[in-house]
Structure formats: C-alpha cells, structure tokens
Point group: C2
Amino acid sequence: MAVLTPRATDFPRWYQDVLAKAELAENGPVRGTQVIRPYGYALWERMQAEVDARIKAAGAQNAYFPLFIPESYLRREAEHVEGFSPELAVVTIGGGKELEEPVVVRPTSETVIGEYLAKWTQSYRDLPLLLNQWANVVRWELRPRLFLRSSEFLWQEGHTAHADEADAAAYARRIAQEVYRDFLTNVLAIPVLVGVKTRRERFAGATNTMTCEGMMGDGKALQMATSHELGQNFARAFDIDYLGADGARHLAWTTSWGCSTRMVGGLIMAHGDDGGLRVPPRLAPTQVIVLPVRDDEAVVAAARELVSSLTDAGLRVRLDARPGLSFGRRVTDAEIKGMPVRVEVGPRDLAAGTVTVVRRDTSVKTPVPLAEVATRVSAALDEVQAGLYAEAVALREQRTADVTTIADAAAAAATGFARIPWSAVGEEGEARLAEDALTVRCLQTADGEIPAPGTPADELVALIARSY
Amino acid sequence: MAVLTPRATDFPRWYQDVLAKAELAENGPVRGTQVIRPYGYALWERMQAEVDARIKAAGAQNAYFPLFIPESYLRREAEHVEGFSPELAVVTIGGGKELEEPVVVRPTSETVIGEYLAKWTQSYRDLPLLLNQWANVVRWELRPRLFLRSSEFLWQEGHTAHADEADAAAYARRIAQEVYRDFLTNVLAIPVLVGVKTRRERFAGATNTMTCEGMMGDGKALQMATSHELGQNFARAFDIDYLGADGARHLAWTTSWGCSTRMVGGLIMAHGDDGGLRVPPRLAPTQVIVLPVRDDEAVVAAARELVSSLTDAGLRVRLDARPGLSFGRRVTDAEIKGMPVRVEVGPRDLAAGTVTVVRRDTSVKTPVPLAEVATRVSAALDEVQAGLYAEAVALREQRTADVTTIADAAAAAATGFARIPWSAVGEEGEARLAEDALTVRCLQTADGEIPAPGTPADELVALIARSY
C-alpha cells in the first residue's frame, strides 16, 4: 500500500495520487479542463443512471439546450450576470469571422432555458413545466482541481416553471430530498446535511438555495448538489407568463437544481482510505472483482465460471486475469480502484471447494464454500454499503462540535463542522468568519431539517466549516 | 391530417412541420444552434442506449475529453486543420481576460484524444486502446437545418489505437458493421448501404472512410454514421508510439468513428408519412399509447389497468387521458409523434370485452379481446417493425437505377440513387457530378459489400445521389 501518500501526511496529495493511480482523471491541455478516464467515467455513468431515474420519477423530462448563449441574455438578470461574469468563456470568432454579438459558453442555462420556458408556457394547463438536461458547462477557474473545481464540468441542470410560489418551493424541496439526498445517502453512502444557504452563499439570481453538504475525510465540507427557488426573477427577465384559469395573465415561478462530476471528487474524499478509493456497492460499476491467484488453466477456468454465476445472480462482476500482472499487482489495483468485494480463486482453495471473499472496507478475508458464493458475496456487498455509511456517519459525528460563540466555531471548524445558533452569527459574523476562509455551509432547524420558509432566525442552526 | 404540409407538395416544409408539430426541436437563439425538445430528446436517448450497448460489446470504454482544444493542436495534422478551419468557433476571452493562445471549441476530438492516446500507449500490451465519448461538438454552419446540419450537435466519437494496420482496419470495419449497420437496420429499420468514401469525400485526415447511407422519403441520401481508418497520420502528429514485443518502438495505427443527432433527422425523413413521424417499435420511447375514448371514470380506469398489464409484459407504454383534449386531438398527437401502436378503449368496446388496436404504419384497426391484448399488441409491434423496414427497402429498390453512363446517373439521381461502375466515373466524373450537386455516396462491391482494401477499381460500384 506504499503507492499512495498517506492521508494523514498530506490529504491533497493523497487525493492527487488516487486520481492518478486509480486512473480516474488527469489535467486537460487547456488550463483548468479535465480528461475523465474510463474508470472515472464509469463512476459518473453510474451516478447519471441513478440520478436520472430519480429525476424522471419526480416527473421531469430530459431535453437539450444550446451550449452557446447570446451575451445579452445573461445581462437580463442583474444578480445572475454579476455572479457569472468573471467566470465566462467568450466565443468571438465563428466560421472564420468576427461575430457581431459575442457568444458565451454556458456557465449554467437559466437564461437560455428561460427564453423557451416563456415560449412553451401559454396557459395554466402547461404548468408545471419540468425539464432537465445533462450537459457540459464552463466556468473559468483560477485554482482548478480535478473533479472539484474545473473550468469545464459535466452535470445535470433541472429547470422548472410553476403557477405559484408554493408549488415551485415544494418542487425545489422535493428535488433536494427525493433526488439528491436520497441518492447521496442511499447510493453514495454519504450522510449529507441538507439545509438552506445564507443570503451571502445563495446562487446568483435565487431567492432560496437548498444544499446537500457532505463531510470529507479531512473534515472539510463539500457542497454536493443544490436546488434553487428563483422566485419570479427569471420569469420577469424572460417574460415567463401564462393565462390563468381566471382569464388573467400571471408571471410564473421558476426553480433550477443541479449536481455534477464534482460528486466523483466527493466520493473519493468521503470514503477513500490509505489504500485508495472505496466505492459503495450500490454505485460501483464493478461490485465484485474475481482474481485467479495464478495463471493456471484450471484456476482461470474456475474464476471464469464464478464470474458468470455471479453475473447471473444480478451482480456487476469483472474478471482480472491479466497475464502480464502478478497476483499482488492485481490485488493492489482492485484495492486502489475501491472495488467493494474481491473474490480470490487459488488452486489450494479450489481443492478444498472454497474461494476467499475479501471486503474492501475492512480487508477481512473469509473462506467461502463454492456453493454459497453468490449469497455470501451479496451479503458482503450489503455489509460494505452499510459499513461505509456507518463510518461516514461516525466521522461526521466525531468531528462535529456544538458551540455557542464564533471563536469556538472557528476553532471547531479547523478539524470539522461547528453547529452554532444562527442568532449568534448573523451576516456580520458570517463576514468575519469569511476572513478565515470559513463559511456557513447551511442553515437547518434544530433537528437537522430544511427550515420552512419564514422560520424565525433564532430557531436556525448554522453549520460552519472549511470547504472545497 | 391536414395539419402537415403533404410530403409530395413540399418535402422540406413537411420536415419542418413534423419538427414543430411533433415537438421535436426548434432553433436556438444563436444562429445554427438547436433546442432539442423532450420528445426529440427521448428519441435520441433511445438511440444512445442502443448504440452504447453495441459499442461496449465491441470492447470500447467510455471516457470524456475537454470541449476546449488549443488551436495549435489542430495545426499538427495538415489535412485535418484544412478540413475544419472554416467551421471553427474560437474562444478568445476566458475569465474576463484575452487568452494568450486562443482555444477552439472541439469540432471533433482526434487531436486532443491523440495527445492522451500517446501518453497511455506505452507498450504493445496497452493495445488495442479502445475509447469512446458521448459529447457535443461545434461546426459553424452557414445553412443550418435542425438535426441534419446544426452548429452544435450531439454525438458519440470513438477513438482507438492499434499495434498494426490490419487490426485497425478490422476494428473500423467491425464498428461500421456491428455497431452502425446493425443498429440502423435492426433498430432504426433503415436499410442503409455500407461502403467506402472516395478520396474526395473522405474525412479530413483519414486514409479510408466507411459510411452508412440511407435513402430518405424524397430519394435523397443521408450519411448516417462513419468509421475512419486514420492510418498513421495522427499517430505521427501526436507521437502515438509503443514498445513492441521486439523491443523496438513502433508508431500505432488509429481509427475514429461517429454517429450523431443527425440520425433523428434520418428517422423522420426515412419513415415519416403525411400523418407525421413513424417510429420503429424497437426504438420508440413509447411503443404503445393507450387512449380512453372519453373522459369517463370506468373507461379511464380500464385504460389505466391496460397500461399496467402491458408494462408488466415488458412494453414501453403510456396513457394519454389529458382531460383538456378531445379524443380526436389525442389521436392526431399520437399519429404525428409516430407511436407505433395505439390502443383505443371505449365504453362500447369494453361492454363487448374488447379494445381497438391500431397500427401506425398501416392505420389498420383491429378489435382485440381484452384477454389477448398483450400478445396481440406485441405481435403488432413486430409487424410494424418489419413493415417499416420492408417499406424502406421497397422505396430504395424502386428508386435505385443501374446505369452505365454519367448522364444516366445524373438523370436517375434526380429522384433516387444511381448505381454505376466506378470505372465509368472516376475522380474526373465525380468532379463533374459535383457541379450538379451530385456526390458519390460510397463505393461498394458488386454484391453491395464494403470493398476489401486494394479491390481493383473496375470491380467497384459507385452509388450516386443528391444528399443532405
């Protein structure tokens, strides 16, 4: 396991080592861009499949809007253009000619989608109009970091229009809970905290931003998904109005919400250990890796048979019998890539009618009779899923302190999260914390829920942390 | 059915009408860009799923490379830069500053992927290296047309590196046949002709381009997918070399291959009729649409029950019981959207224990006893799939003429395809045909196969047509 820098020695370097050794991603040639390698992309494809199914279950339909947005569109919503201007990539030449109006590469699509929501929203019968797109977006980054902060990233962005404020608010909240929180906790095994952003941390143009915040292995927070109520800001800027049942025209209320390849970074940092990545089984592109101990015909044949019987049992299984690589190298590779369960097949085991099942999270090895492999491996996968989640919960609890003063919050946030009454912080305290690179990650109710609109400030708890 | 311009009256206008009335796509705000609406995108998602499964079966892995490519990369392969320069979109401003080196928005990714193939190809053991990405690309279009020719489009692009020429050639051919031809004929039900491009029509930088050409409803050809052998052109430009088993370094041989949202345009034009789109059942996002004849509680309940029993039978089924729309409007909508089979549920039918099953391709209505609906609908879907394919074959045969002179080829190509010995055309004849906007779509063997490398010119047949 000496191939990676230990996490305790240098966490950021460990992260870079995992990216390289697990063959997840590397830098692109243009500053801040990234190349997502096949294993990293396979993780993202599984995230897409799980999130997409939840989005569709919430009634939204996928569509696709253009990469290029007229510069003038961005200017229509004042806060939005102010928030995104410093990060824009601008196309000034097209087809060999200087363009009359420069074109922005989308940093997000509220504006261009707003234009079409306006077209398609005629009557109250057209509402709610629930759209989502899977796309790349560009935000010029000065301090890029693979998966976490890159000039181009992949994401989904949902955009919806509703007849009234309550419906918009309920839908944005539904997405935060039924799509993001459900996926992040039940598939990614990250016990995210869900709350609302302070005014200072809100999305540019939103009236309310809900967020899912996860704790990483170094105690820092990562914002893993957000869901915004946009009020009537974009409806006003793009004339998204409709004919009501009352015969009068009304402005619609809109929402937007997204999660991105940043979640791959979160997966690495929330669950990784000094041996590499640890992928929760429900997400894993390969749940079970079968390794013949040596390059022996009978052993490889037995391993192959095992792969097909486990595949028939509905698991995602792969054989690693690469002839050029020693058993030890193949074990290390499976560990670095975080495959949840490893099945080792050796000649001595086979003679005894068993194989060895190894859990990635605990490294515990168990001899298992061949006839029981499918059920025992399935059980081990469930245990790894639960085990990773329990470890993440334990870390978060151990590194979260309940405090009452800003000074204590700052001290606690040096190693984890601080929970403090929002009334003890306020916008002024928030500004002071910012000087030490500490932010209010979200505001919650005392029992850790998303506060209802209008919850009095003195009933809110602020979560303070360093963050990515 | 008066909602669409008849095809015979004005085919291009019929195409625009279908795009609008079937809610498939519309123009984006920046010239040449497109908005793909939910139903259009659902067609594309089904295409992606089918093509992706075939690509994975051919051993390639998905990855993701950056949207932005340094301008200097494109210049490294002379033909490539010459071919793409006129179509480039160039980013000159990033993060509020003029960039030192302008950045090109990818028109295709041979160059940037070449850089990484070079990095990852160390030894012969790393080969073949088989990659694919699903991405958007930009080619500035002067005469844009939704789905067929847009400044931004969605596609997959495969990029592979091989140890020798024969392996590269075999893989490019395998992709043309097992991925593209198989998908286009067996799922899209379009009897494409597969052959090689002439030197004039080859991809910029390729040594051989294989193509799948379909006949549209107006007799014109549409290039629906291509697979290129790139020889050592990109390997040389990007130093893609490897250490051979012989201990010496060798240049690799590369391929690239792609298909795009253009296939949605092909689907519309190959199968559409005056009533709208006709979607082959194996592709259709909705294979069966169930329509209650009236807004009556018992009828709608029976329709709902039917939807769940057909869904349980493994079909993709949707209910259309929108209260605001008359039965006639809902029928027209299902027809325009080309849903392969429609099941109408009415009170009189129900009393008789039957429903009415309607095939979209033939409009034939059949009363079917409730107990038999699942098997009869499944059978109808198979018939529609076969029927659309047979119609497309019949059209192609009826509109294809075997000729021996260029004059006759030009005459035949006014309404369809001309097959002519390549020896009667040659590069000079090809240039003359180009003056009348006629092109050699591909070269085939006499029995319609992809010619093997080095097939003598006088054994080749040229397929000549107008094209999109």
